[in-house]
Amino acid sequence: MAADTHETRTANRGDLVFQRLIVVGAVVMVVLLAAIALELTRESRLSLSASGVRFLGSTAWDPVKELFGGLPFIYGTLVSSFLALLVAVPVSLGVAIFLVELAPSWLRGPVGFMVELLAALPSVVYGLWGIFVLVPWLRGGVEPALARSLGFLPFFSGPSQGFGMLAGGLVLSIMILPTIASVSREVLRAVPNWLREGALALGTTRWEMIRGTVLPFARSGIIGAVILGLGRALGETMAVTMVIGNRPKIAASLFAPGYTMASVIANEYTEATGDLHLSALAEIGLLLFAVTLALNALARLLVWRVSRVAVQGSRR
C-alpha cells in the first residue's frame, strides 16, 4: 500500500514538472513572437506615419528621392510564390502518392530519402543552380519557345531575359517541392489501412480507391502541407534574390525581372542610409511576418483537423 502511494506520487510529480515545462515553453514562444512583432512595428513607425496605408498601394520605390511604395515587392512575393505552388503542388502530390500508395517497397526508402535530402540543401545551392543551369536554359530555350507559342498572353510576352519572375518562381517551386511532398507523405501514411481495404473490396481500382477515399480523407492535411510550402516560398530569400532580377517594377510578363519582400530587405538593409528607408524596409518585414504567421497558423489548424478525423474514424 505504501509503495503504491509512493509510486502514484512520483508519477504525479513527473506529470506536474512536464506540464510546467510545456507551459513555460509555450509562454516563451508567445513572448518571442510578440517581441518580434513589437520590434518590427517600432522600427517601421516612421514609415507607417509618413505614408500609412498608401505604402501598400504605391509602386514607386526610389530611396534617392525618398519614395517608398511596397506594392512591387508584395506583387513579386505573391506572384513568385503562386508560380511555385502551381508547379510544385501537382508534382509533389504525385511524388507523395507514388511513395505511399504505388511504389514497390524497395523503391520507397531511397526515393523518400532523396526527397528529404532535397529539403535539407541550403538555399544558396539552389540559387547557384538557378544561375548556372535554370537561367541560361530559360533564356536560351524555354522563354523564346513560350513567347512563340503563347506570346499572345501578356505573361509570356516581351524579351527573354532569363533572370526574372519565371526563374524565381521555378527555383522556389523546386525548393518547396520536398516540403510539400514529405509532409503529404506523412499525411497519406496516417490514412488507416481499413479505409483502403474497404474501397478495394468493393471492386475499385487502385486509382479509384486513392482518388475516392484516401485523398478525401487526407484533404485538410494535404492543404496544410501546401500552406507550409507556401510559407516557405513567401519567406525564401537567398535563392530567389539570386535569380529574380531584383528590379522593383511590376511587369505583366513573367520574363521580366521582379523583386520580393524578403529579397529587398536582404539587399538594401545594410546599405540603407536614410531613416525613412530603413523604416520602410522594416515595414515590409512586418508585413512578411504577419502573412507568414497567418498562413502557418492556418496550416496547423488544417493538419490538426485531419488527425482528429482520423482518430474519430478509427474509434469504434
Binding site: 473490396a201 468493393l202 471492386g203 479509384e208
Partner: protein, 279 residues
C-alpha cells in the same frame, strides 16, 4: 431454394428414369466456390497449407478455428484481397462457378465485384454520408446510378438498417453506432448485388442485440446469396451456418453439415476445439 432445385430435376430429365445417385446430386446445392489445394503465404511463411473446400451455393458456410489458424487469410483468398497485403502470395486454385479466379488474365477488380466482403471492424467511409456509403461501390468506380434513392433504400432495408437511418441519410457514416456501422457496411456490399458475401467476424465488435440483428440478416440473405462467415463463436456458427469448416494451423481438419460437425465430429481435434479444450 431446395424446391427450386427439385422442380428443375424432373423437367430436365423428363421421360428418363432418374437414378437415386443422380437425384441426390441434383438436390444438393451446386458448388458456388471450391478452393483446390489453396496455399497462401506472407513472405516466406505459409499460413494456408493446401486447403480444398467447397462453398455451396445459397448456403451459409461457417469457418471456425483457433486464432491465427488462417481463417481471415482463407476468406481473403476467395475475393483476391489477400494479395493486396504486403508480400502476400497465393498458390493453388479457387474455382468460382467452376472457373479459377487466379488464372492469368483475370481482373481481381471484377472478382471483388462478384464476391463482396464485410470486415471484422466496421469500416464505413468517414468522408461520405450514409447514403453515399451505400452507393460507394458504384460511385467510386464512376458508374452511373439511375435510381439512387431506390437503391439506397433497398440496400438499407436488406441490411435491416433503413428504419434507423432513413431520416439521417446525409449524416456521416462514421456517426452511427458500431452495430449500425456494420450493417451499413453490409448494405454497401449488398448494393453491388454480389453473388457471394464474405463476412470476417462481422459481430466481434458488437453487443448481443446487434449480433442478433446481424444473424437474423444472415438468415434472410442466405436465401439468395452465398455466405461465408468467419466466427469465433460456436453458438453463432450453430445458429446461422448450414455447413461448417474447422481450420487448424493452416489446414482443413473437418468439413460437413453444421449439426454433424458439432454433434458427431469425426476428428479428435475438432471435438477438442468445440468443447473448449483448446484455442
Amino acid at each position: 431454394m431446395m424446391k427450386a432445385t427439385e422442380s428443375f430435376v424432373p423437367t430436365a430429365e423428363k421421360g428418363r428414369v432418374v437414378t437415386i445417385a443422380e437425384r441426390e446430386s441434383a438436390i444438393l446445392p451446386a458448388e458456388k466456390i471450391r478452393s483446390v489445394d489453396l496455399r497462401a503465404s506472407f513472405g516466406a511463411t505459409e499460413v494456408l497449407k493446401g486447403i480444398t473446400l467447397p462453398i455451396l451455393e445459397r448456403q451459409v458456410t461457417a469457418i471456425i478455428g483457433p486464432s491465427g489458424c488462417g481463417k481471415s487469410t482463407f476468406v481473403r483468398c476467395l475475393n483476391r484481397m489477400h494479395e493486396t497485403a504486403h508480400r502476400a502470395t497465393v498458390a493453388g486454385r479457387v474455382l468460382l462457378d467452376g472457373r479459377d479466379i487466379y488464372r492469368a488474365g483475370i481482373d481481381p477488380v471484377a472478382i471483388r465485384r462478384r464476391v463482396g466482403m464485410v470486415f471484422q471492424k466496421p469500416n464505413p467511409f468517414p468522408t461520405m454520408s450514409i447514403a453515399e456509403n451505400v452507393l460507394a461501390g458504384l460511385s467510386l468506380t464512376g458508374e452511373r446510378i439511375p435510381h439512387r434513392m431506390e437503391l439506397v433504400e433497398k440496400a438499407l432495408r436488406q441490411a435491416a438498417l433503413w428504419d434507423e437511418v432513413k431520416d439521417i441519410l446525409p449524416r456521416s457514416g462514421a456517426s452511427l453506432s458500431g452495430g449500425q456501422q456494420q450493417r451499413l457496411c453490409i448494405a454497401r456490399a449488398l448494393a453491388l448485388d454480389p453473388e457471394v458475401l464474405l463476412m470476417d467476424e462481422p459481430c466481434s465488435a458488437l453487443d448481443p442485440i446487434a449480433t442478433a440483428r446481424i444473424e437474423e440478416l444472415i438468415h434472410e440473405l442466405g436465401d439468395h446469396v452465398t455466405i461465408v462467415i468467419v466466427t469465433h463463436n460456436m453458438q453463432q456458427a450453430g445458429r446461422v451456418a448450414d455447413h461448417t469448416a474447422f481450420l487448424y494451423m493452416g489446414e482443413l481438419v473437418e468439413y460437413g453439415p453444421t449439426d454433424r460437425v458439432f454433434t458427431r465430429p469425426a476428428e479428435q481435434r475438432t471435438e477438442d476445439y468445440i468443447t473448449g479444450r483448446f484455442g
